[in-house]
């Protein structure tokens, strides 16, 4: 049982305050969706949780221990980070790329062993990319690449998965299959915090949803509780209608609502 | 009276655009070349010398460096020389052709010295410059001194001459037709490069030198202690491991062929005598 906890986070980027006094928790078995408009700080939050940036104030703790003070390889074995638009610089084979996920487990001159190979095979099977093992990583379609990168993250064997918009550029089929794998990860005892744009998808898969707005958490709860037309209008400036069909929540955008301070968004 | 006539004539000559008449000794001699400097400094009266080249005071390259002290130095540019109002300009084989051409066009008398790569040329040039300066007797004295040194050096040359090689960094050597060849043969050595048919500038890889095993290696690092790859080259183990002796001569003997080259021949002859003495009979 792992618990990732953020307390009173204040994060600045380039002099600008992106997140202010943000607190929440993530536990095993949970798949939490991170929602919010562009530039609301989703990526910043995920990067801070992965200890890739330092918050100005506040703490991030993994099972009580400060994430920033964990040894890098130790942290890497417990938190997996899937960055937005992850891509490989060189055309290594998919097999090799996924195997990179095992590096936190290997000492500098150590070679991969049986358990490592098994973990890689398992991750690739779960993401259904086994048939792509010999393909160069630079020759993958969008959907294939997304699943391969996810397999890489899962191969680390980390309990906690932080994924930054893993499905944003994918067709409905691949969106679904990737979310299914992440859901599966949570069901097996992992935890996942996934930044998403698609509200319906979030409603379909997430146990919990965090809504980021104006530097803080506007709402934190189950999709059913949080996703109301009023909340969506306030956070996304979108006029939405929600319907329930086959027990599933559908969010349909009808139009836009004028923002109080209309203007070009910020940087993040 | 004759002196006054000479002065009058040279004034007339100067006012005619610098055309010197044969009888008048020049009184404002400018030398723009290191090798010409040596002759001017050795042969002319000090009052005749208007200027010598900037290299004249470089002890590494100029035999007459001390004598050049206190004289006006020039960089060989036409502008400078014109300002000196010379009545004779002595240039060398490496003087800029543009400068020499410009000076001649302006009406100055410019005499080119060729590179003296053997003692015949040395004698000829010494006499020529002595004649130009009106100091023929001094010229003969220098030549006589040189010849007696050369005669002493050649007095006891054995039938079987030891083999020597000039060895410069990057493997440069000097064969037939070079000044070095003249010096070595005058001292009683056989020149390895000439034996191999090389001309004035030849190339001998280090490996070939090791195989050839000459008795003496000669270089020109005698007075250039500053660090350079050339200097470190002479520390090469293959050179120190060889059975030969090394003679480092001062750079000035390589820079110009002149009457004082006989001093280099003397040093070389001394080395040759030591070798012959050590030879098993």
């Amino acid at each position: 049982m792992s618990r990732l906890e953020a307390r009173n986070l204040h994060i600045r980027l380039g002099g600008r305050a992106v997140l202010s006094d943000l607190s929440f928790q993530l536990g095993t078995g949970e798949l939490a969706g991170l929602l919010g408009p562009n530039a609301s700080g989703k990526t910043t939050l995920l990067r801070a949780l992965a200890a890739l940036t330092e918050p100005e104030r506040g703490e991030i703790a993994l099972d009580g221990a400060r994430v920033a003070s964990l040894a890098p390889r130790d942290r890497a074995r417990r938190i997996a980070y899937l960055e937005q638009g992850a891509a490989s610089q060189w055309p290594v084979t998919v097999q090799r790329l996924v195997a990179l996920g095992r590096s936190p487990h290997l000492a500098p001159w150590e070679r991969a062993g049986e358990s490592d190979r098994a973990a890689v095979a398992d991750a690739m099977a779960r993401c259904d990319v086994g048939h792509l093992a010999a393909r160069p990583a630079t020759e993958l379609s969008g959907g294939e690449a997304a699943r391969v990168m996810l397999a890489r993250a899962l191969a680390t064997g980390a309990e906690i998965l932080l994924a930054d918009e893993p499905v944003s550029h994918l067709d409905p089929y691949h969106q679904f299959s990737v979310m299914k794998v992440i859901r599966d990860h949570a069901d097996r005892g992992g935890a996942a915090l996934v930044a998403l744009h698609d509200l319906t998808l979030a409603a379909r898969f997430c146990d919990r949803v965090l809504l980021l707005h104006e530097g803080g958490i506007a709402a934190n709860g189950t999709p059913d509780d949080i996703l109301t037309p009023e909340m969506i209008a306030r956070v996304f400036s979108v006029d939405a209608s929600l319907t329930r069909q086959d027990g599933l929540l559908h969010v349909v955008q009808r139009g836009i609502v004028g923002r109080a301070d209309d203007g070009p968004g910020g940087g993040v | 009276m004759r002196r006054g006539a000479a002065v009058l004539l040279s004034v007339l000559a100067a006012s005619c655009g610098g055309q010197a008449l044969a009888a008048a000794a020049p009184s404002r001699v400018v030398s723009i070349h290191l090798c010409a400097d040596q002759l001017v400094l050795a042969l002319a009266e000090r009052g005749q010398i208007a200027s010598v080249s900037w290299l004249a005071t470089d002890v590494r390259r100029s035999h007459m460096a001390k004598a050049a002290a206190g004289l006006r130095l020039n960089n060989g540019s036409a502008e400078e020389i014109v300002a000196l109002r010379p009545d004779l300009v002595l240039a060398g084989f490496r003087s800029g052709r543009a400068t020499v051409g410009a000076l001649r066009k302006l009406g100055y008398r410019v005499v080119d010295l060729e590179f003296a790569d053997n003692f015949d040329v040395v004698r000829r040039q010494t006499r020529k410059v002595a004649g130009l300066l009106g100091r023929a007797a001094r010229g003969e004295a220098l030549i006589a001194e040189m010849d007696s040194r050369l005669a002493r050096a050649a007095a006891d040359v054995p039938a079987l001459r030891p083999v020597a090689a000039i060895y410069q960094p990057m493997g440069f050597t000097s064969g037939r037709g070079s000044l070095e060849h003249a010096l070595m043969t005058a001292a009683g050595f056989e020149n390895l490069a000439a034996q191999r048919g090389m001309g004035a500038l030849g190339h001998l890889p280090l490996e070939s030198l090791v195989m050839a095993k000459p008795a003496v290696l000669i270089n020109w690092m005698g007075n250039d202690p500053a660090p350079s790859l050339a200097r470190s080259f002479y520390d090469h183990p293959a050179l120190s491991a060889g059975p030969w002796r090394t003679l480092a001569l001062p750079n000035m003997y390589w820079a110009c062929g002149a009457w004082y080259s006989a001093l280099a021949v003397e040093q070389l002859a001394g080395m040759r005598r030591r070798l012959t003495a050590e030879r098993p009979k």
Binding site: L52 | A226, A230
Partner: protein, 331 residues
């Protein structure tokens, strides 16, 4: 190591051995294989023994050491900068190392100690890499990388020429082609001895970066999330390149393009993995340097062609072809 990588190492080791033998047999004096062999195992004072031990041995040894250093540094830089165009020559590390060494050498700053020269080369190389990061930034595009490298390289070459012109020795001015184009001619065992320890230290630092570089191919954030300390990786590569390249240049002058060609040719053979490319680039670099030096000796009748000229004749067209290939792919 997979069996494929093992076979590659075997093939390269064989190539290096074969070329080394050829190198021992190449020279202006015709020496039989027998005399070369006996000179190595039972040396005496004969000319052939001197030639083999004091002329051909250091030359062959240095070709291997310098080639390995340049190949490895090129592979490491390409992995760190995530750019197939990076190599010590192009980024200006070699020219800067040449400047550092020439400055110390000609102005007698080393006293009479040869051993200080690799340190001078190292300092020059380190300054260049540091300057490169400052100019081109960490996420350098190919263009900014080349521009920064050209700037640093030109400046360092100009400073080298200036230093040499101001040197007191009359011979200095003639020696500039050694520093700018490199040569292994008439190098001694002393040269190999002073350079080898620094090179070895550089190799150890660079080879330790294998896993980090493999992870880095997925981007800085992903690499960090996999436990790679980017600061440590960068420091090890800067220091390792400075040591290996600095020591090499201090004894052989600036030889370019080896670090560009070798990793590029070997990359497909190691599955494009930047980590696995390191070790094989050492052997590949040694092989290329040996081959180029043999060509230099076979082609030169008289004054030897500079080694850097041969590598540039192969390398510059190679570089252009690479550039075109990259433009075509991104365009």
């Amino acid at each position: 190591m997979t069996s494929r990588t093992g076979a590659l190492y075997g093939f390269l080791a064989l190539a290096v051995t074969g070329l080394a033998i050829l190198s021992f047999m190449t020279g202006p004096s015709a020496l039989s294989a027998g005399s070369v062999w006996s000179a190595l195992v039972a040396p005496d004072a004969s000319p052939s023994s001197i030639i083999v031990r004091e002329i051909r041995l250091p030359r062959t040894l240095l070709a291997i050491l310098v080639g390995a250093s340049l190949g490895l540094s090129g592979a490491a830089l390409q992995g760190l900068l995530r750019n197939p165009l990076a190599e010590p020559g192009i980024i200006g590390a070699s020219s800067s190392a040449a400047f550092g060494t020439a400055l110390v050498f000609y102005f007698g700053l080393a006293g009479s100690s040869l051993a200080v020269l690799p340190a001078a080369g190292m300092t020059g190389a380190m300054l260049a890499v540091g300057l490169l990061f400052a100019l081109a930034g960490r996420d350098a595009t190919p263009l900014s990388l080349i521009l920064a490298g050209v700037a640093i390289s030109s400046f360092a070459s100009a400073l080298t020429a200036l230093a040499i012109n101001l040197a007191s020795s009359a011979y200095a001015a003639l020696e500039i082609t050694f520093w700018l184009l490199g040569s292994l001619a008439d190098r001694t065992m002393a040269h190999a001895a002073i350079a080898a320890p620094a090179m070895a230290a550089g190799w150890v630092l660079l080879l330790s970066c294998g896993r980090g570089l493999s992870s880095l191919s997925l981007g800085e954030d992903t690499a960090k999330s996999l436990g790679v300390s980017l600061a440590s990786l960068r420091a090890r590569i800067v220091l390792g390149v400075a040591l290996a390249v600095g020591a090499s240049v201090s004894v052989s002058g600036a030889i370019g393009f080896v670090g560009l060609i070798v990793p590029h040719l070997l990359r497909p053979a190691v599955g494009h993995d930047p980590g696995r490319l390191l070790g094989v680039s050492m052997l590949g670099g040694a092989a290329l340097m040996l081959a180029a030096d043999i060509v230099v000796r076979l082609l030169s009748s008289g004054i030897e062609i500079r080694l850097g000229v041969v590598t540039a004749l192969i390398g510059a067209p190679f570089f252009l072809a690479l550039l075109l290939q990259m433009r075509r792919r991104s365009g």
